[in-house]
């Protein structure tokens, strides 16, 4: 019963809104290929290069794996920005994976445009394993860019009013 006793307390603590809303930080999803960009992020880390921390990184074996579904789902789930990264041309571990990545990215961009989302929320960058500084730079730039765009319409924080009022689900069959 200890958990039962604790729970109401937590809820009340959550419900009181803070006086001034804290400055907004975006949530960004970064897709990085295992051989270059992820290692580039590592380089930034071990060299202790400071950068903004508002992103989650998803490692894939090659940027060629990053199909529109990945990016679109990130947006659907409320990401404010998505960064796709991979090796420089000619450096892809699988030779032409990043060429595929470009094709997929272009397609994704078209769909994102149709949806009416700002293009600035999506970016493609090539970052090698040695480019720790560049990684930090790209992250900082992109984070600032997304911050000025504000929360995405599908970011839960902005999306209180969209849900439909709880009502009876209409039946399909008479």
């Amino acid at each position: 019963m200890t958990t039962g006793a604790k729970r109401p307390k937590r809820q009340t603590a959550k419900r009181t809104p803070p006086k001034a809303p804290p400055p907004w930080d975006p949530s960004i999803v970064v897709f990085a290929c295992n051989w270059c960009s992820y290692a580039g992020a590592d380089t930034a880390g071990v060299s202790r290069i400071q950068h903004q921390p508002h992103f989650r990184m998803i490692r894939v074996m090659c940027s060629g794996r990053i199909q529109p579904g990945f990016v679109l789902r990130a947006f659907e789930k409320g990401a404010d920005g998505v960064l796709v990264s991979g090796c420089h041309f000619g450096d892809c571990h699988y030779i032409f994976g990043n060429e595929r990545a470009v094709e997929q990215f272009e397609k994704t961009k078209e769909v994102v445009k149709l949806l009416g989302l700002e293009e600035g929320r999506l970016r493609l960058e090539w970052i090698s394993a040695a480019e720790g500084v560049r990684f930090a730079q790209v992250i900082n730039e992109f984070t600032d860019q997304v911050r000025t765009l504000g929360p995405s319409p599908w970011n839960g924080k902005r999306q209180q009013s969209v849900g439909r009022a709880a009502g009876q689900r209409p039946t399909t069959e008479s």
Binding site: Q67, P68, L72, V111, L114, P153, R158, Q159, T172
Partner: protein, 395 residues
Amino acid sequence: MPELAEAAKKTKAWACYDCGKCTATCPIARVGGSYSPRRHVLATNLGQQREIVENNTLFTCLTCSLCDRRCPAQVTYTELVRDLRELSHGHGVEPECPHGGALQSVMRMMAKGGTQQNRMGWLSQDLKTESAKGQVFYWTGCTMYYDAFFPEFQVKTLEGTRSAVRLMNKLGINPVVSPDERCCGHDLLWNGDRKSFELLAEHNVKLVANSGAELLVTSCAECLRTWKVDYEPFFGAKPPRIVHVTEYLAEHLPDLKFDTDRAAGTGPDGDGSRGPVRVTYQDPCRLGRHLGIYFAPRQLLEALPGVELSEMRRSEAAAICCAGGTWSNCDRFAKQIQVERLREARATGAQVLVTACPKCQVHFRCAMKDPNLGGEIEIEMRDVVELVDQAVGQK
């Protein structure tokens, strides 16, 4: 399991006498898939929810409704599979992400709303439309998304959309084409996501009601089914009349003036070759078996000067579907079904495979990309409306 008992009642699954005709009919089972609709019916009747949810074969069904036709006990398996998918969705089961779930994500984002889509880019200068109010609402469907998403197949579903508007203009109608249209929700509903479907349905019904339109015309067979059947509970006092663009054009056939020279002389590629063009018609499952519209598109094709319709071996109620409806399934069996269907189309000697649903185009064009079979199964694909538009020409 109360849900299962209810589904059994609603779809008459209880009446099943285990004859196995549905499985024998099913195009997936016929090309070697181990899919068995009969087993789902049986499991429903026995209340075996775990078997249904965990087995995760539900999304293999094309929902083509062929088995419904053949079932001697009139079990509507297609309705049943939809109910079962809804049940599975509640347990977190999703289709095995064809296209990485990209299209489902797009549809869900539309359901949540919050952005102004840029879906009007396809409207060319010569097309006259209204953006908010009018007598006739032209429901475009998501063809602009398909064309953007499948550039590698040279998908041109927007051509059909443009042709439809052009023809309506020629009939003296400036239809409403709204920038606020959202996905009809067909695929999400058939994937079991009823909540998102309801959001879309409410938005769309309100949009059309506010336009004051008395007639809604659409080129997409799936949108048509959704509007006619699945939106019914959402309609207010005065729902619009809903027709497919082929029905609409067939009604106005006497008013369409065909340019005989142009139509007869132009081959499918516009190469100027003389002589009639032989075409064959693919019945979209939504238009045919789901809604019983077989005649209108054929009536149009037969009326076109210089066009000769030659039917495939399996047509009308027996037609085989494009094996890709609802974006829930794509596997080697789907591919096999598509290849066989394309062979059938080629066997008619037709130069053009005509259809009345943008999705048929997407899926058959994908199958044609096969590097080994390409030459054997390739065939030009057009929408019925495109052919009508071409035949009317400048007149």
